[in-house]
Symmetry: C2
C-alpha cells in the first residue's frame, strides 16, 4: 500500500476524464489552466465534514459521489458548464480500501459531468473533504441570486423533501423497507446536480439558487439579495411519491420547506419569459413546478389555501443546529 502522500496521489487520483484547457498534469506547485476567452469562470468551494455532512463510516464510494455532486450543484445554480475541480482531502490515515472506494465514486461523477481533477492537496487529520469546482459561463447569462424582481414566478426543479427524509432515515428516526431505503439513500448520496437545467435556464430565469440549506432558507437568500419578498403556496410543493408514502403531508411539507440536501434549483422567471419556460417543460427538457411568486417586501411567506402556513423550523445553518 502506498503510504507516502505522493504515491497515494499518483495511485488513486491521477486518472479521470482528460482536462480541457489544462496543459499541466497534477503534481506541480500549481495547476495551470487556460480559461476559454470571452467567458467568465465560475468557481465554488464546498467542504464536507464527517458526521456533519455525512456519517463518518458511510460507504467511501458514496462519500466520493456526494462530495463532487453537491459541489457541481453550485455550478448548476449559476448556469455554468463544469470544466475542472480541485480536491483538498484530509483523512485520518491512508487506508487503501477507503481511498479506492472514495476515488471510484469521485471519478464516476467526474466522468458523468466531464469535470477533470486538476490538482489539490492531501493531508492527515479528521476526515474533511474540500472541493472547488470551476466552470464556464457567459457573464451576461450567469444566473445570479440578486436579480429576482416583483412579479416573477418562483419555480423549483424536481421534488423537494427527499434529502431531509433521507437524513431522518440515516438517523434511524424512521424505519423503512429496502426499496424505500435504497431510494432515499440514493437521493442523499447521489443527488443530481442540475447542470443541464441550469444551462437551459440561462436567458430565461432571472435569479437562481440550488436548494442545499432548505427551500425557505435558499429562496430567502434570493429575496434578501434581490431586495424583494416571496410567497410560496405550500399545496403546490412538489413531493415525490416515495416521500408521500413515507410521511404524513404535514411532515413532508415541512421537509420540503425547511430540510436541506435536495440540490434542486429554485429559480424565478419574469412573466414575459414564461412561454419560453413552458416550451421547455412541454418538450420534456426540464422538469419544474411553479410554487409561488416574488412580491414587494421582505422574506418568504408560506400560504396554504390562501391562509398563513406555520413552518416548524428554519432552514439548515451549519452553526445553528446539529445534523447528521
Amino acid at each position: 500500500m502506498a503510504t507516502g502522500e505522493f504515491e497515494l496521489i499518483r495511485h488513486y487520483f491521477c486518472r479521470g476524464p482528460g482536462a480541457f484547457g489544462a496543459p499541466l498534469g497534477i503534481g506541480d506547485d500549481c495547476a495551470l489552466v487556460a480559461p476559454p476567452t470571452s467567458k467568465h469562470l465560475a468557481m465554488s468551494m464546498d467542504t464536507l465534514v464527517a458526521d456533519v455532512h455525512f456519517p463518518q463510516h458511510a460507504d467511501p464510494e458514496l462519500i466520493g459521489e456526494r462530495a463532487l455532486r453537491v459541489n457541481l450543484s453550485d455550478l448548476a445554480a449559476m448556469g455554468a458548464s463544469p470544466l475542472w475541480f480541485t480536491l483538498g482531502l484530509t483523512i485520518p490515515k491512508a487506508e487503501s480500501r477507503w481511498l479506492e472506494g472514495f476515488s471510484k465514486g469521485l471519478f464516476n461523477v467526474a466522468h458523468e459531468y466531464d469535470c477533470a481533477l486538476i490538482g489539490g492537496d492531501t493531508t492527515r487529520g479528521p476526515l474533511n473533504i474540500c472541493i472547488q469546482v470551476h466552470g464556464v459561463v457567459s457573464g451576461s447569462n450567469a444566473l445570479l441570486r440578486g436579480n429576482a424582481a416583483v412579479g416573477d414566478i418562483v419555480f423549483v426543479t424536481g421534488t423537494l423533501g427527499d434529502g431531509a427524509a433521507a437524513v431522518a432515515i440515516i438517523k434511524q428516526e424512521f424505519e423503512v423497507g429496502k426499496s424505500a431505503f435504497d431510494y432515499f439513500m440514493s437521493r442523499f448520496y447521489r443527488p443530481e446536480p442540475k447542470v443541464r437545467e441550469g444551462k437551459l435556464l440561462c436567458g430565461i430565469a432571472r435569479a437562481a439558487i440550488d436548494v442545499s440549506d432548505g427551500l425557505l432558507a435558499d429562496l430567502g437568500h434570493i429575496c434578501e439579495v434581490s431586495g424583494v419578498g416571496a410567497v410560496v403556496n405550500v399545496e403546490q410543493l412538489p413531493i415525490s411519491e416515495p416521500l408521500q408514502k413515507l410521511a404524513e403531508p404535514a411532515q413532508s411539507r415541512n421537509w420540503a420547506l425547511s430540510g436541506g440536501d435536495d440540490y434542486q434549483l429554485c429559480f424565478t422567471v419574469p412573466r414575459a419569459k414564461l412561454d419560453r419556460l413552458e416550451l421547455l417543460l412541454h418538450q420534456g427538457k426540464l422538469q419544474a413546478t411553479a410554487i409561488g411568486e416574488i412580491v414587494r417586501g421582505k422574506g418568504v411567506t408560506c400560504l396554504r389555501d390562501g391562509e398563513a402556513f406555520p413552518v416548524v423550523r428554519p432552514g439548515y445553518q451549519h452553526f445553528g443546529n446539529d445534523r447528521a
Copy 2:
C-alpha cells in the same frame, strides 16, 4: 455574536482588498471571475490541519497569516502573480475572538500581496483551513518542476532550516531566549512567499519549487519529474545567523536539508543565463545562493568537501511521520 453561517461570513470575511476581474462579490452560488486573456491561470490548494500543520491553540491571527502565506508560496514557485483566493474554513464553533484574530491575520496577508477573497465555505467540525489561491502567469514563462536539465546550477533563495528549528522550539525540544523565540516563531507563522522573486525568475530559471517539505524532498521532486539527478554541496547551504547560534552545524545542516516549512524557492538556472541571474543578485533584487548542480542520474546526492554526506532523515511526508 453572529452565530449563523451567513452573518459570520458577512461579519468577518466580507472585506479585504478589492478584487481585480471579479465582478461578483462573496455570497452567490459561485464566484465569477474574468481571467486576463492570453495568460494562464495558476491555481493551488493547500490544507492546514490543527495539530498537524500548526498547534490548535496558536494565536488565531498567526494561523490566518500562515494559512494564506504558505498558499501564496505555491504561486510564487510558478512565477505567478496572485489575484484571488477562496477559503474553506472548518471550525469547531463560531467564536468571535478566534474569528476576529484569524480574519485579521488573513487579510493582513491578502492586502500585502493584493490577493482578494472571492468566495468559500464555512462549516462546523475539527479545525481545518483549506485555501485555494489563483494567480496569473504567461504560460510560456511559468516555472515548472519538470524543466531542469543536466548542467543547470541549483539555487535557493534566503536561508534554510529556520522552519524546522521553529517546529523543534514549538515542540519544546529547544529552550531559547525571547528574541530568538520571536525570530523563529515569525519564521514559522509568517513565512514570506517569494512572489516577487518568482516573477523575476521567469525567463531565467528553468525549474522551480517552493521548499515546503524540505530541500531534499522538494529538489527530489524536480529531479524525478525532470528525469535528472542533483548534487548538493552541504557547505554551501545558506543558514541564518540565529540558526547558527541556536544549533550545532550538523543539526543546522540536517534541518536545512530535511526540515520543511521554509517556503524559500529552489530553482535551477542554465549556465547561459547565469549572467542574468547574477545581475539581479548584484542589484539586490534577489537574494539566492548556489548550492549544487543538476547531473545525469536519479535523486539528490549530498556532498561535503567532495565526500558523501549522510543525511539523518528524509523530507517531510504527511503520512510518513508525525509533525507539530
